[in-house]
Symmetry: C2
Subunit: 500 residues, 2 copies
């Protein structure tokens, strides 16, 4: 019995050991497989299921190969409101927050309709719907930034849309054609180019044009073969060359000469900048003297239209001043701030690295860093999210208050000016000295409003360069008040005399 | 011979080995001694050669025990100019850099003499020499900050000057007496208290009063027994209590409740602040509503002199406006900036840690961090000195330009006002409505100049809080222009009518 027992026991023991060893080996194998899988994932961050081309402007096809990025991109349709606006499902008119805007844009389409911004997904549809476009004639140049337009420019420039590489001179030649078209005709050209899509089920390499217009898409920042960052928007390519030249770097070719860190800003700066996109001349970036507010201003002062007249965007409805409209000079203001100075790119904060499984990707759900302070700010700033958000809020609140103060100075200037104009219609005298003085007032209006608009139109509420934005608004207030003073003095002097 | 040789050789070899071993042992011993000495030095950072007391206001005696700190302190006599002034051997009038200052201080002693600052070593002698003191009556309150005054306050308050600990109520009672004295009489009290000095050669513990007045000295920040940081200046002790109360912390006792990090700011904030030190009431820090520019302003608005009149420093020579004089609100502006927000104390940048042998000391050669960016800025900011200095210079230049712009607005306002006053003397009519309007102008002058002076008198050229300083100057410009507008409108209306 003892012998039998010990035999049975030893058999039981052996079975136990065998099971234990099996489990351990199984677990170890699982671990190895998992490690291997993650390493493989990290090594092969994507699988090319379909081929895409520069002309594939429909991001959904790129999404077959890069599903993570595409899913993120689609989230830009989400509401993403922060302290001072942005991203509501049905965004309000900006004049609700800044009532002075309506009068500020008197005589200009922005007084008609100027809604708060939304995410990338809406850039084209929002433009198609704005009353600035539906009720006023606009140039095709607007599509330079609001659509995935490069293949259309190539086609119109006589180039090969299906090519793997586009050439600057061909893009430029197409660009000069499209800016001469009215918005809706240019839009039709866009639809006609459509997207050159890979054919699922067909042989690899077969593509078919599918008509339609798309907002910014993968091809606007990425090379379809190598995925490297690239920029093709002609306004930026020429603008950055002029800016670099003003800094002593000749013949700057952005796709050849820019570092990867620079490209993480430049892809954004294709559009998030100041430019002229009206009908009178081909769209241009006014960077020949630099990108500070007064450097851009001096560039505009020197710039002459073909009729020899000095550059301006529109004449103000109340003062007839030839004004400048600021677009959204995020790049320009950022460049005056500490983040630019420290080499922090747009994408570092607005598209911070994130992990999906073992894959590290730049988050293509482009949005305010305030909504992801842990991913963005905390990479450098060792403070908790609440503290970081509070810091930004304090900076933005100061800027907001200054904006209202400058808007108030604008309104009071316009009130005084209105009184002055009334006195003119009463006595019907406008001497040549009056005209000289009125011109001086108009010049002050131009300087003041350019500065106010520069900060108001910029989308960081001063955060990109807090002191610089405050400085600009201080100057704006000063010039509005000087314009008001001249108006009051003219009224005082019976429209004549020592008002200078 | 071979044998002999080998014997000789082996003797030579042994001697060689003996010498080598001796040298190695000697060097190792030296190393050990050096390590031991450094460790001992680090453990015993000072040796009390003499005893000092709170009443030892002559730093030279403390220098016997803490020679490194004293040597550093003495260097504050060195010239230490940076971008925008400070520390020249024979400092210029500030109006050379800011010509508007003379008119800004019209009717006030600062229009007489307002030189650029120098180091701590000069704080008392510079005050004794300024024409503001030699040619105008000044209160003893000025010495609250420019002399090592606490033992004098204790003596005048009936306390024990030689005591190891001073009591707040006794200091306060002495303080109330000295502020009622004219400057020169208060100075005599200071000299009479002198310094309670240890007697070299006599038994330990014997002290002798040596008459004379001293600038800020060791005792103003350090406890003589424990060397811990402490503050006794009554204005600050009461001021910080009021500030903390406004933030919800009741009965704040700075020496009991403040953290060491806070104390590294508070010792400086005893003087580098805004306060009233005129003759009408006991010196006070206007912090009951907070330390932002408009919080201090609102405190002054509520504050009534004993005659019931609202607080003001002086009436302006041209406009008769009841104005506020800003002192040097470094603490207040710093508190609105990112360094304060990040817990960086005054001493962290202006007295950064430095090594003398094995001893780590806070550098008592208090000066601009620009002069030692490697010691101060680079502790946190990983950029080279040139880059750091350039960043500061860019911030300061923006602030400087805004100061000039605000000064220009001040000057143009005063010009318009002068024209208005001239018209009064011509027709000699001042209706009650005129008086109402003139009062409104005076109020705008008060608001505008308070803001301009707040930034101009502050000694960081905007660096302590760049956006906040720009915001303040923007408001200043706005108010000066509004005052100018009202002046022009009054002239316009024949001194009457709708100028509000």
């Amino acid at each position: 019995m003892n012998l039998e027992n010990s035999f049975v026991n030893s058999r039981k023991g052996l079975i136990g050991i065998a099971i234990a060893v099996s489990v351990v080996v199984f677990l170890l194998t699982m671990l190895l497989v998992s490690i291997f899988r993650h390493k493989t994932e990290a090594k092969n961050p994507y699988l090319r299921l379909v081929e895409v081309k520069q002309a594939t402007t429909d991001s959904a096809y790129w999404g077959n190969n890069w599903p993570i990025h595409f899913e993120q991109y689609k989230k830009t349709a989400n509401a993403s409101r922060t302290n001072f606006g942005g991203g509501d499902a049905d965004p309000a008119q900006k004049s609700q927050m800044f009532p002075f805007l309506t009068r500020m844009f008197s005589g200009y389409a922005f007084s008609l309709d100027f809604k708060d911004r939304r995410g990338h997904a809406y850039m084209l549809s929002d433009q198609e719907k704005t009353r600035r476009v539906t009720e006023r004639p606009q140039s095709g140049a607007c599509l330079h930034c609001h659509a995935s337009i490069i293949p259309t420019l190539v086609r119109m420039g006589g180039g090969e849309v299906a090519a793997d590489q586009y050439f600057e001179n061909i893009i430029w030649s197409g660009f000069e054609k499209i800016v001469k078209l009215p918005y809706h005709e240019a839009h039709k050209e866009l639809e006609k180019t459509g997207s050159l899509n890979p054919q699922v089920g067909a042989a690899v390499g077969e593509f078919l044009v599918q008509e339609g217009a798309h907002p910014v898409s993968c091809t606007d920042c990425h090379n379809a073969k190598t995925m490297r960052l690239q920029v093709n928007r002609p306004g930026f390519v020429a603008g950055i060359r002029a800016l670099k030249a003003s800094e002593g770097v000749a013949n700057f070719d952005v796709n050849r000469d820019a570092s990867r860190a620079e490209m993480r800003t430049y892809v954004c700066a294709q559009c998030h900048v100041e430019y002229y996109c009206g009908p009178k001349v081909t769209l241009f970036f006014p960077w020949g003297n630099g990108v500070k507010v007064e450097e851009i201003e001096s560039y505009y002062e020197q710039y002459k239209f073909t009729d020899g007249h000095r550059f301006f965007d529109w004449q103000h409805g109340e003062t007839s001043a030839e004004l400048l409209k600021a677009q959204h000079p995020e790049f320009e203001l950022w460049r005056q701030g500490i983040h630019a100075q420290s080499g922090v790119a747009c994408a570092d904060c607005h598209m911070p690295y994130t992990k999906e499984g073992a894959i590290k990707v730049s988050d293509h759900y482009v949005r305010s860093p305030l909504l992801m302070a842990n991913q963005s700010c905390q990479q450098c700033h060792a403070w908790n999210e609440k503290e970081l958000q509070d810091r930004v809020a304090a900076i933005q609140k100061r800027n907001f208050d200054l904006l209202l103060r400058a808007g108030n100075a604008l309104t009071e200037f316009l009130d005084s000016y209105k009184q002055l104009k009334k006195s003119f219609s009463a006595d019907k005298v406008e001497s040549s000295q009056d005209q000289v003085n009125l011109n001086k007032i108009a010049e002050l209006h131009r300087k003041a409003q350019w500065r106010l608009d520069f900060v108001a139109a910029e989308n960081s509420m001063g955060f990109h360069a807090p002191q610089e934005a405050a400085r600009i608004l201080a100057e704006s207030i000063d010039y509005f008040r000087q314009a008001q003073l001249m108006s009051v003095e003219m009224l005082n002097m019976g429209h004549r005399g020592s008002s200078d």
